[in-house]
């Protein structure tokens, strides 16, 4: 047991270094996906027929293909047409592209669940259509989408681990390298798993607080 601790302790700095990459990929991808997700959702609900088709096509395409394939297209496919990303940036872009489609679906469902009377009430006090969407529909859609959105960001936190496949030294990548050097695969992956668990628990707690803050305000 003490061996085990010594091994974990000795490799903790490397794993935590990897964790920083994990969090970087996650935060950038989530924020990018958040912005793009809203654009796609609004385009899909309120857009002209062309924007609606484009948004729908994007969402179906991304949801219908594996994240890993998307990541290799970004990292190894795009350079053929002159777009070259570092592994880290490629992972951010690929996971961002991926989560945007899922987030868009949750935001769209949220927009659809806002009661029509809310829109009528906004118009009735003289707000323009755009103002009504911006001040009433989208804030309410966000609150409705929050539980599913929380799920999505937690899932993507774990999915950042696919970045090791394009040699990003994030948490999973570090664990794999240490395992290859020491042959203590079981021990190192267990430590890595525990770090993921701590991250996910912390994020879950944070999101719970946010959800509770909004509970009355749907």
């Amino acid at each position: 047991m003490s061996d085990w601790f010594a091994f974990a302790w000795a490799n903790l700095p490397a794993l935590l270094h990897g964790t920083v990459y994990t969090l970087e990929i996650w935060v950038v991808a989530m924020l990018g996906g958040f912005v793009a997700g809203w654009v796609l959702a609004v385009g899909r609900v309120y857009g002209d027929p062309i924007s609606r088709k484009l948004a729908t096509g994007y969402i179906e395409l991304i949801r219908g293909t594996p994240l890993l394939v998307q990541m290799f297209i970004v990292y190894q496919g795009l350079p053929q047409i002159g777009i070259v990303f570092s592994p880290l940036v490629a992972a951010m872009v690929a996971i961002g592209i991926n989560t945007a489609a899922y987030q868009a679906e949750y935001f769209r469902a949220g927009i659809r669940s806002v009661r029509p009377g809310q829109l009528a009430a906004g118009r009735a006090i003289g707000l323009t259509y755009i103002q009504t969407i911006g001040h009433i529909v989208l804030p309410q859609a966000w609150r409705i989408a929050l539980p599913q959105w929380s799920n999505e960001v937690i899932i993507e936190l774990k999915y950042t681990s696919v970045a090791f496949a394009i040699s990003v030294p994030e948490l999973m990548g570090q664990a794999k390298m240490i395992g290859a050097d020491s042959f203590k695969y079981f021990q190192i992956f267990l430590v890595a798993a525990m770090i993921y668990l701590v991250l996910v628990s912390a994020v879950t707690l944070l999101l719970d607080v946010i959800e509770r803050r909004y509970a009355l305000r749907q």
């Binding site: 009528a120 118009r123 006090i125 001040h135 804030p139 305000r217």
Partner: protein, 261 residues
């Protein structure tokens, strides 16, 4: 404003269809400043559709609607500006659920009227006080009873200082105990000379406050006249049938709506 005969709203030959279904058929009415107009009629008569048309929440198929000297139905009408001059109270309140009572009242003042926060707050507090809910300033709609929500929604409409208030069955979604508090607020508005169009099944209330009553059925105005005429001396058989039917339904109810409300 009471007593002046200024014409505030004029509706002529309004027709509205939903697909093949003609929901409003050649409806005309005039509202003078300070007038209280009651609209009664069976469910499905087109009452809600009519007053939704009056502030442009529903597009119309034919006819004209004028507010003062502006035509709502003109192609280039600035509908948003026109709507902000007309208050609308919904059957199911439709308070903005994600905003506090304060922000419900201030949203239009700030975004439509462009007032600064302090100015908006002064007006909003005054209107909330007027409906007797000053202490609910920071509450969310979900924390209020139905009657309180409806009073806030009246305050929200009043905050825009409308020239005309439209009410679509404002007490139909309320439990009996809350009805009185909403009708009391409306009575005060009547006393202040507010111009109002009220769709309601509260016959005693309509009879007490309305200067003029429209009876509608199947998208048409069957009969229009003073409250006394419609409720006691109706010319049309359909009107009498409707009034008698409602009266019969009320017999045996414990509380006298005329008294309690």
């Amino acid at each position: 404003m009471t007593g002046s005969a200024t014409q505030l709203m004029r509706v002529s030959h309004l027709t509205k269809r939903f697909g093949e279904h003609t929901v409003l058929d050649d409806v005309s009415l005039d509202v003078t400043a300070g007038e209280v107009k009651g609209i009664i009629g069976p469910s499905g008569a087109g009452k809600s559709t009519l007053i939704r048309c009056l502030n442009g929440l529903e597009p119309i198929d034919a006819g004209e609607i004028w507010l003062d000297d502006t035509e709502l139905t003109a192609r280039k009408a600035d509908m948003d500006a026109l709507r902000s001059r007309i208050g609308f109270v919904f059957q199911d309140f439709n308070l903005f659920t994600h905003l506090t009572v304060a922000d419900n009242l201030m949203l239009g003042l700030r975004r439509v009227r462009g007032l600064k926060r302090a100015e908006a707050e002064t007006i909003a507090r005054r209107e909330l006080d007027r409906v007797g809910l000053a202490e609910k300033w920071r509450a969310y709609p979900a924390e209020l009873s139905g009657g309180q929500q409806q009073r806030v929604s009246i305050a929200r409409a009043l905050a825009m200082q409308p020239e005309l208030m439209l009410f679509d069955e404002p007490t139909s979604a309320l439990d009996p105990e809350s009805v009185g508090s909403v009708l009391r607020v409306m009575r005060e508005l009547v006393a202040e000379g507010m111009t109002m169009i009220i769709v309601s099944h509260e016959m005693a209330f309509i009879e007490a406050v309305a200067d003029d009553v429209l009876f509608m059925a199947e998208g048409r105005v069957v009969e229009e006249g003073s409250a006394r005429q419609i409720f006691h001396e109706a010319r049309e058989q359909r009107t009498r049938g409707f009034i008698d039917g409602i009266a019969a339904a009320l017999v045996g109810e414990a509380d006298d709506p005329g008294q309690a409300r």
